[in-house]
C-alpha cells in the first residue's frame, strides 16, 4: 500500500518537472504578389495569377512616376 502510494507520489511529483515544448512553428510561406488578392481593390489592368502580367503592370505603374514620359517638354 505504502509502496503504491510512494510510486503515485513520485509520478505526480515528477510530472510537475515536465516542460511544454517551446518550438516555434517557423516562418509561414508567403503567397506571391502576382497571385493577386481576393479582398482588396485589384487594379483591373492585369490578370491575377499571371506573373508576366503582374510584372508588366508593375513596370507600367513605375513609369507612371516618371513625369518625363507623361509630359512633353
Amino acid at each position: 500500500m505504502s509502496r503504491a502510494f510512494l510510486v503515485l507520489l513520485m509520478a505526480v511529483g515528477l510530472a510537475a518537472c515536465s516542460e511544454k515544448p517551446q518550438v516555434s512553428g517557423g516562418k509561414k510561406v508567403d503567397q506571391k504578389a502576382s497571385d493577386g488578392s481576393q479582398f482588396g481593390s485589384v487594379d483591373p489592368a492585369w490578370k491575377m495569377g499571371d506573373a508576366a502580367s503582374w510584372d508588366q503592370q508593375i513596370q507600367r505603374r513605375t513609369q507612371g512616376q516618371n513625369e518625363h514620359s507623361r509630359i512633353t517638354r
Binding site: S24, G25, G26, K27, K28, V29, D30, Q31, K32, A33, S34, D35, G36, S37, Q38, F39, G40, S41, V42, D43, A45, W46, W54, D55, Q57, I58, Q59, R61, T62, Q63, G64, Q65, N66, E67, H68, I71, R73
Partner: protein, 210 residues
C-alpha cells in the same frame, strides 16, 4: 523579376510629410509607430535638404542576419518582410538597421514592447494576400493588387520613387541629366511658355526705347 527598391530625390523633397501620413492611413499604423519618416539635414539653414526614409529592403539585410529567431524572409520581388508570429520583439534588428526602420509599438502597461513593425513595401506579410488577418498585422497588400507603395505613388513632387530598382534608377538618372537650372529647368517652358511660343518677352535693358 522585379527587384523592388525606393529612392528619394533630396532636390525635390519638400518635407510635406505626405508619405508619412499616407503610410499611416493606408496601413492603420498604431500610435508611436512611423514606418516612414522625413529626415531634414541642416534644418532651418538655407539649402536644407530633406529625404524620406523607411526600410530600404536591403539586398544584404543586416536585420535578417542578426534576428535570433529568423523571422525575416525575402520575397521573389526582393522585398524584406517578417513573420510577426515568429518575432519575439527582442530589438536586435533595430540596432542592426542603419536606417532605423524597425519600430516597436508600446504594448500595454509599463512600456512593454510589442512585436517589430516596419515598412512592408505595401506587400503585407505571410498571411493570405489582402486578408483581414494580414491587414491587422501588416497593413494593406498593394503589390498583390498590382499597385506600388502608397508613399511613392502619392508623392506630390515625385521625390520618392518606388518600384523595380533598375527602372527607378533610370528615371532618377534621366531626371538628374535633364534637371537644368534657372529658366532652363525642366518644366519651365510647360508652366511659363517659351519665347518662341508666346511666352514672356525678354526684358529690355533700362534706358532703351521700345
Amino acid at each position: 523579376m522585379a527587384r523592388m527598391k525606393f529612392i528619394c530625390d533630396a532636390e525635390r523633397c519638400i518635407e510635406c510629410n505626405g508619405c508619412v501620413t499616407a503610410c499611416k492611413a493606408e496601413h492603420d499604423v498604431p500610435w508611436g509607430v512611423n514606418r516612414r519618416r522625413v529626415v531634414t539635414l541642416n534644418d532651418g539653414v538655407p539649402g536644407e535638404k530633406s529625404i524620406s526614409v523607411a526600410c530600404m529592403h536591403c539586398s544584404d539585410a543586416p536585420c535578417m542576419a542578426v534576428c535570433p529567431v529568423d523571422c525575416f524572409y525575402r520575397t521573389d520581388e526582393g522585398v524584406v518582410l517578417h513573420d510577426k508570429d515568429v518575432c519575439i520583439g527582442c530589438g536586435y534588428c533595430s540596432y542592426a538597421c542603419p536606417f532605423g526602420a524597425p519600430q516597436f509599438p508600446s504594448n500595454g502597461t509599463f512600456g512593454l514592447r510589442g512585436k517589430m513593425d516596419k515598412c512592408t513595401f505595401c506587400a503585407g506579410g505571410p498571411e493570405t494576400n489582402g486578408s483581414p488577418a494580414e491587414f491587422e498585422k501588416y497593413g494593406r497588400n498593394r503589390l498583390s493588387e498590382g499597385k506600388l507603395p502608397i508613399c511613392a505613388e502619392m508623392c506630390s513632387t515625385k521625390a520618392l520613387l518606388g518600384g523595380d530598382g533598375d527602372v527607378v534608377a533610370d528615371i532618377f538618372r534621366n531626371r538628374v541629366l535633364l534637371r537644368g537650372k534657372g529658366s532652363e529647368v525642366w518644366g519651365w517652358g510647360t508652366a511659363y511658355g517659351k519665347p518662341s511660343s508666346g511666352g514672356a518677352s525678354q526684358p529690355k535693358p533700362a534706358g532703351t526705347k521700345s
